[in-house]
Subunit: 704 residues, 2 copies
């Protein structure tokens, strides 16, 4: 092992394994994860090797990634994984451990991320009984086809139609739907797994019932390809949408439907149905059932929030290990070189991201748990209010938007902070980033979501202002804002109570500041909307002008929640005795660093209304520097604690053993450009130039 | 043409062509540029087509890009381009127009960007007479080999040695140097053009003279490959360093030297020499000559600053046109859809970047002109002081660091703000960004440069504080800071004089605020350093702790210079009568937007010391919104004015005609993944899975 890394590890003040167990949820889970990682790494077929990823053409990578999926199913069947779920892999925790262990994107992903959950939540029992076994046996591989070439987030504007045709007018027995793309921009465009892999799609289309009435958006299971030979079915045209900035294993696809007829019962009929005569009706399902469907879909967002923690963990692990190995500049002795990790500038770029990766873990876990709790309540018929559902929608929207922004920017910062070598594919960071870049855009664009957050929170503001209905929020995340909202409305000026620099490191003090800021910015949005409407703008216009302020407000709310959940999460771990004092202490440092760093970044928000005095504000930046010092000796250990294997990191720079340079070279030698010498451009091109065969200046200049 | 774009263009308040001429430097230059662009676009060989770029394997793209270079030389010779420079293409303006027109990265680039300028500035006359004709005729294709696998910015730590061997001890006639890589980390690593293309390298190595004395870093021309057949010369090992996040046409390379002997006179001997006996001596060259060399190297940085303007212009052009075409959400009528460009949030993301692309143009031009002026003074033996050289070093470092950061982040913001379609390679934005990402790292890492800026500026601070030597700065950029520095030292409190929201749109008022902020942050760095040393830290330690503050300070200085140059640039254009009132007015809007946007972003800096009151600060964000309104009707025209042809933009989203959707689809169809149906993964992989050939659960779960 590299001597610097060895020394770094020896100086850690805490037990790395305890933190690893915390992330996994206990020792047993760590052991199971590690076992499954070994299954993949040591698989004798070598299909799972990621060593050649960067040298393959996209087509080869896609084929290879498909092979990984097939092998994964084979392994599961051999090992009995998922057997406890009747062979439904997607219900088995082990399957997700294995997916993580593969450390590569599989073209089949949308099958379990969207297609299956859709069937489970939107289809009635009979439909589920038909489709789920087909899915389980991978006879049906599905995707989720919502967005169209011309329309993304604005679901109301989708063009694809599903028109009912009764048996009497040429439809199938029991009636049919005809799925049709009425224009070029109506092409389904973007769905993952659609392009080359899926043989079925859950298509979102406008339902035109037997009376010709447009009933809005509904879901339809549309067979795309034969389950016998994968040939396209009549009227269906699909393909891959072409190369992307990342995520290129995946065949995101397009699909045109030219009057494609499907059985009436391929409409997902849990919440609404069309009968054999084409009569449309909403089903009398309990409000709870539709809430369950909604909550289930929100879980995808929770997974993205948890993913933001993991992505940052990968990037910071790579950067921190490399920064410990890499030297630059001389120490005061003029001879030994400085570890890059010792530069305050480097620490200031990376440690707050390390802190964020820890912080996001606690909020991701809490969000996930809360969604599961609500789901469980609904299933066991306990009351869940609209307010509660809206509140968790706001929380998940705010966190999705903020966390993926921080993670995307953070991965890139980690990459840049590896200097030149971070530009190499073999650093692992380019692919990590480029594939991650989908996250800020999918499942609600990061710049759309703040509106939804604020829309929900403004109702709380109104409740506080009017004094009516605040009680409905007691179990909600947003209820934590109420004291500051009340103070602001009562004209009582909240002020930071720190009297010295040390006070300004106190977590409860910091949390109060973030609460005040979030409440203040939220009220400012309400005021701006109100003023603009008073001054003659329409509500839509006023809303438009407030979008910038809403983005700020949503971010401030996220930071408040994140810090609160970080603090609560640490306390929970402390109570559960999984962590000792040393671990709690270092997590506390990360939480303080996180809070102070973001306070420093947005300091204007904290001082412009006098919440912080200039004096108090002047303590923030020096405190950040102090926590850089505090975290420095534990930095490598805090990265190690995420227990990301070399196989998963796929990085010459981030290796556990620190043996960076030979692996950079090894990766270089492998490039196909080096397979012949002179290189492949010499004979056909360079040779003429160098040896003088590329023409000469003629006597007079001529024009082509 | 798309109807929305047509309407956008009709509503512009100014003459687009006048602004185009401003960017080009006059009508004649625009015409020439357009003519040369047509030469490339209409070249009958089709070599220059960029249509297949995204579908080619890296090796194919590299070969193709090499072919482009060869064809370019051929075209130049046919058209007589560069004939006026004796065939030295790299001295011909037309050659650079053509390079821009090609709109693709050429593997030969380091030949003219670094190798040739090195020969011209560091070699003596006799050496130049030998090498320049070989370069001109492309018999020699060179690269610049400085960075090593283990060492980048810290030039002092380079390991490669060049050891003198006299004829008497087996050296060549007149003596030799032996170039050697003493360790694995000594491998030259990163130099562009080195991997597969170059047959010579300008190698930076430690000179060990005839007495065995290490004379530090010097430059040596090292033949790598035979000029006859491109075979590697004895002892040389080179290759490509493998795939990168971008810039993959280029064969960035590595090189090991195993005791490679070169003639003594291959050392660049303008400033120092080693004679036949191995005696080392500095040459008595005028101080001016070494300054010229330094200034020449700084021009690369000026080119990067200008490049930041162009890169942002490309990204904002693509985004603005697409945002005008793309619709999302409904207008108040509930039927017609809203142009994405009408959302304030979208404007707030993009218009400041549009303003930055304009702003950076003026500073890039000024920096370039100033460097040329100094160079000219030096050549014509007029006095140039050390202070002046240091000052322009600070300016170029500050601007390089800040501008490339804004451009890199800005391109990505433009990409994200295209929503899903920005993720497509066919949007043009992924490649634009990924190739641009080299800029923040090369030629002085953006996070290293602020130290150098502050080091220079601290001398001015000292001069102002002591009252001695300030006059030496009168012709310097940094002299503009003096009034605020003086005020701060005299304890006189500068304050913003705006009495209402309108005052806060006044450019001189805004500039004063940016000046105050820059001076204040600079003095804070000085104070922090001073305090830390007083409190017992070593200077190196104190310096380390101040790095974060230096980064802020350098950024603040950049913003001050950028705004000042923007204002002066507009006034110059106004005086020269190239622009009319309408054009000046819209440029003024951009300048105000630029200033207010950055003030809003960093508002804490402006209020924490009371320069702005809370009241004054509260006018900033609403003013930004007002300028979004002001710029909105001219947005498309301001993008058009950069006159970036579709051929150069390479973007389905950014097309001049707005015909976005058919071109997205066309690009999708072309992906090789679509060349067969079912796709290439079906037969080898998916088939087994779907038709049931991937094993079954055995009776008891077994372990692999």
């Amino acid at each position: 092992m590299n001597a610097d890394l060895k020394r770094e590890r020896e100086q850690a003040s805490f037990d790395v394994l305890k933190i690893t167990h915390m992330f996994d949820g206990g020792k047993a889970a760590t052991d199971r994860r590690r076992y499954l990682e070994r299954v993949i790494e040591r698989d004798p077929t070598d299909i799972f090797s990621n060593d050649d990823n960067h040298y393959l053409h996209r087509t080869e990578r896609h084929v290879r990634a498909t092979a990984k999926h097939v092998r994964l199913v084979e392994i599961c069947r051999k090992l009995g994984i998922g057997k406890e779920c009747g062979g439904e892999l997607c219900e088995s925790d082990d399957f997700y451990f294995l997916l993580d262990a593969v450390a590569d994107d599989l073209p089949t992903a949308l099958h379990w991320v969207m297609f299956l959950p859709n069937i489970k939540t939107l289809c009635d029992d009979e439909q589920q009984a038909k489709w789920l076994p087909l899915c389980r046996d991978w006879k049906v591989i599905g995707c989720y086809a919502q967005t169209e070439l011309g329309h993304g987030s604005n679901v109301r504007a989708l063009e694809t139609t599903a028109t009912f045709v009764p048996e009497s007018k040429g439809g199938k027995k029991g009636g049919s739907f005809v799925i049709h793309s009425p224009s070029m921009t109506a092409a389904k465009f973007w769905p993952g797994t659609l392009g080359r892999t899926a043989n079925h799609a859950m298509v979102i289309a406008r339902l035109i019932d037997g009376e010709g009435v447009d009933r809005g958006i509904h879901n339809f299971i549309v067979p795309l390809r034969s389950m016998e030979d994968h040939s396209l079915l009549p009227g269906v045209k699909t393909g891959d949408i072409g190369p992307k900035i990342g995520y290129n294993n995946m065949d995101n696809g397009f699909a045109y439907f030219d009057n494609v007829e499907i059985p009436r019962r391929n409409m997902a009929m849990r919440f609404a149905e069309v009968d054999e005569n084409g009569k449309y009706s909403k089903k009398h399902v309990s409000a709870a059932a539709s809430k369950v469907a909604y909550i289930t879909m929100m879980q995808v967002r929770a997974m993205i929030v948890m993913g933001s923690s993991k992505a940052l963990a990968m990037a910071t692990t790579i950067n921190i290990r490399y920064s410990a190995v890499r030297k630059q500049g001389y120490n005061e002795d003029g001879k030994t070189e400085v570890q890059v990790l010792d530069y305050k500038q480097q620490q200031h770029r990376i440690f707050p991201l390390l802190a964020a990766s820890y912080c996001f873990f606690f909020s991701g876990r809490k969000l996930w748990d809360n969604l599961k709790k609500i789901e469980h309540k609904l299933i066991s018929k306990k009351p869940v209010t609209k307010v509660q559902v809206a509140d968790i929608h706001a929380t998940s929207s705010a966190l999705k938007s903020f966390n993926t922004m921080v993670a995307a920017d953070g991965i890139e910062e980690c990459r840049k902070a590896c200097g030149g070598h971070g530009f190499l594919a073999s650093s692992g960071l380019p692919e990590l980033m480029c594939s991650y870049l989908q996250s800020p855009t999918v499942e609600g664009d990061n710049h759309m979501l703040p509106q939804q957050v604020v829309k929900v929170l403004l109702k709380l503001v109104q409740a506080v202002q009017s004094g009516e209905g605040v009680d409905a929020y007691t179990t909600c995340d947003s209820y934590s804002l109420v004291p500051s909202l009340k103070a602001l409305f009562s004209g009582q000026r909240e002020k930071c109570l720190a009297v010295n620099k040390t006070d300004m490191k106190d977590l409860p003090t910091l949390l109060l500041a973030f609460r005040h800021r979030a409440a203040m910015l939220l009220i400012n949005v309400a005021k701006q909307l109100n003023d603009d409407v008073m001054n003659g703008k329409s509500m839509q216009e006023a809303w438009n002008y407030a979008l910038v302020a809403m983005a700020k407000s949503s971010k401030a709310y996220s930071l408040f929640l994140l810090l609160r959940n970080f603090m609560e999460g640490i306390m929970e771990e402390q109570r559960s005795k999984l962590l000792g004092r040393a671990e709690v202490s270092v997590l506390g440092d990360l939480a303080r660093m996180f809070a102070l760093y973001w306070m420093e970044k947005d300091i204007g928000d904290f001082i412009h209304d006098g919440y912080l005095t200039a004096k108090q504000a002047s303590w923030v930046a020096p405190n950040v520097l102090e926590f850089l010092d505090a975290i420095r000796p534990n930095a490598v250990a805090l990265a190690d604690a995420r227990d990301l294997s070399d196989f998963r990191l796929k990085s010459a720079l981030g290796r556990y053993d620190g043996n960076v340079y030979p692996h950079i070279l090894e990766a270089a030698y492998k490039d196909p450009l080096n397979s012949v010498d002179p290189g492949p451009a010499y004979d056909p091109e360079l040779k003429r130039l160098i040896t003088g065969g590329v023409g000469v200046y003629s006597g007079t200049a001529s024009r082509l």
